[in-house]
């Protein structure tokens, strides 16, 4: 049950490897302390299927690579008071954006034909439409805080969250950097 005194937190991963969420889980025993102050209302690591209408803090991992990523980013911006780009993919496009220098047809063939031994061929359904260009989150919606790192360390994530809980705006640039 949601406790109204707690800060609500929503997270999602777009085009990323989930490493930033793994780093979040690396908070280890600090997760218990966090759970006393924060209510995780939507995330790949909880069961909720719908992003609530009004969330205090939203965290997005990963770059914007597909139409679905774009929708999620926009929904998070609409519904979260404070939006964080977590990790290099969200902040800069990082590895997912390295497909930008290739033709989209070649990208599909590489992923589904050239490197597949069993039933090679492009999927015809269930896949979100790929955007021609992978972009960082802040190139499609406004972002309030950038947390670099591949992935950002658990200590960095802890610093950011505890500062926000304390009502301050964190400056993580002293703790993390591109590629960290």
């Amino acid at each position: 049950m949601s406790d109204s005194a707690k800060i609500t937190l929503a997270t999602a991963w777009l085009d990323g490897c989930s490493g930033c969420h793994m780093s979040f889980l690396d908070l280890d025993q600090r997760l218990i302390e966090l759970a006393e102050k924060v209510d995780i209302v939507y995330s790949p690591i909880v069961d909720t299927k719908e992003l609530p209408r009004d969330v205090d803090v939203g965290i997005l991992e990963g770059a914007v690579s597909t139409e679905e990523n774009l929708q999620v980013a926009r929904r998070f911006r609409e519904r979260c008071k404070f939006l964080i780009s977590l990790g290099d993919c969200a902040v800069s496009g990082n590895v997912p954006s390295m497909r930008n220098t290739f033709d989209l047809d070649d990208v599909f063939d590489r992923a589904f034909v050239e490197t597949v031994q069993t039933q090679p061929g492009r999927p015809t359904e269930s896949l979100p439409t790929l955007l021609r260009t992978v972009v960082p989150i802040h190139h499609v919606v406004n972002v309030d805080l950038f947390v670099q790192g591949c992935p950002p360390s658990a200590d960095t994530i802890w610093y950011v969250l505890t500062e926000l809980i304390a009502g301050r705006t964190p400056d993580p640039t002293q703790l993390t950097r591109f590629g960290a």
């Binding site: 780009s85 290099d88 902040v91 800069s92 496009g93 990082n94 590895v95 954006s97 390295m98 930008n100 220098t101 260009t133 972009v135 960082p136 802040h138 190139h139 972002v143 950038f146 670099q148 591949c150 993580p172 640039t173 950097r177 591109f178 590629g179």
Partner: protein
């Protein structure tokens, strides 16, 4: 008033001038650049194309400083000090300029740190952290550049190049081979080996590796290095430059 002349190691007479950097009173030789004087007085000015022991290039503009009475910022590496200068190294405007320069560099070619062999040992990455460049506001260009792996020991990845020309200068001024040069303009600008031939076919390259050691990014690297493994060492440079200068 200029101070009395002092005699340098080469026997040249040089005047001493007094100036201010960030409110500190400083005495310096009138032949020194603002960057030299700042470094000698432990005042940090971010720089990228500058490297002690090589000629001054003044291309990256990261070392811009403000001088009272000057209409626009100047590069600290290529401006010599003069009597009574009042210099500011970190105004809000200069910080904004440096950050913008870094954003443009990151947007121009591929500077994805996480998979770079120089990750953790890269001057561009360090500068982004130092100057608080935590995201790029301009669109990324996403243009591919060539990777030349024809040399038996080294590789040039033009996607990582910031055109500082340290490789060009060290090859010409220290090694004396002049294998490297610059070709093309604007976004087409690239460092080249010999007459834009594959590096492995170069008849002038001595394979000394000085260019690799002075390269600030992952553009010039040793082959066989994985992400984060390419550490560079340019400590040899001031000594070699001095020995060459003394001949």
């Amino acid at each position: 008033m200029p101070g009395p002349p002092v005699t340098t190691s080469t026997g040249m007479k040089v005047r001493v001038v007094t100036l201010k950097i960030n409110e500190h009173d400083i005495g310096a030789r009138e032949t020194d650049s603002i960057l030299d004087v700042a470094q000698a007085n432990h005042i940090r000015i971010p720089s990228l194309c500058f490297l002690e022991g090589l000629s001054t290039w003044g291309a990256c503009r990261l070392c811009v400083v403000e001088i009272e009475g000057y209409p626009r910022p100047v590069s600290a590496c290529s401006t010599t000090v003069s009597e009574g200068m009042v210099i500011t190294t970190h105004s809000d405007r200069l910080k904004r300029y440096r950050r913008t320069i870094l954003e443009l560099l990151f947007a121009e070619r591929n500077h994805v740190c996480s998979v770079c062999v120089s990750n953790g040992h890269c001057e561009l990455q360090d500068l982004a952290a130092e100057c608080g460049m935590d995201h790029v506001r301009v669109p990324y260009r996403n243009q591919p550049y060539a990777v030349d792996s024809t040399h038996e020991m080294y590789r040039v990845d033009h996607n990582r190049c910031v055109l500082c020309t340290r490789c060009v200068r060290v090859c010409d001024e220290i090694e004396g081979a002049h294998t490297w040069d610059v070709m093309g303009r604007g976004i087409e600008c690239q460092v080249i080996t010999d007459m834009n031939q594959p590096w492995g076919d170069s008849s002038s390259c001595t394979s000394c590796g000085k260019c690799v050691q002075v390269c600030p990014t992952g553009a010039l690297v040793k082959k066989g290095t994985a992400a984060g493994e390419m550490e560079k060492h340019d400590e040899f440079l001031p000594y070699l430059a001095q020995m060459r200068g003394n001949r």
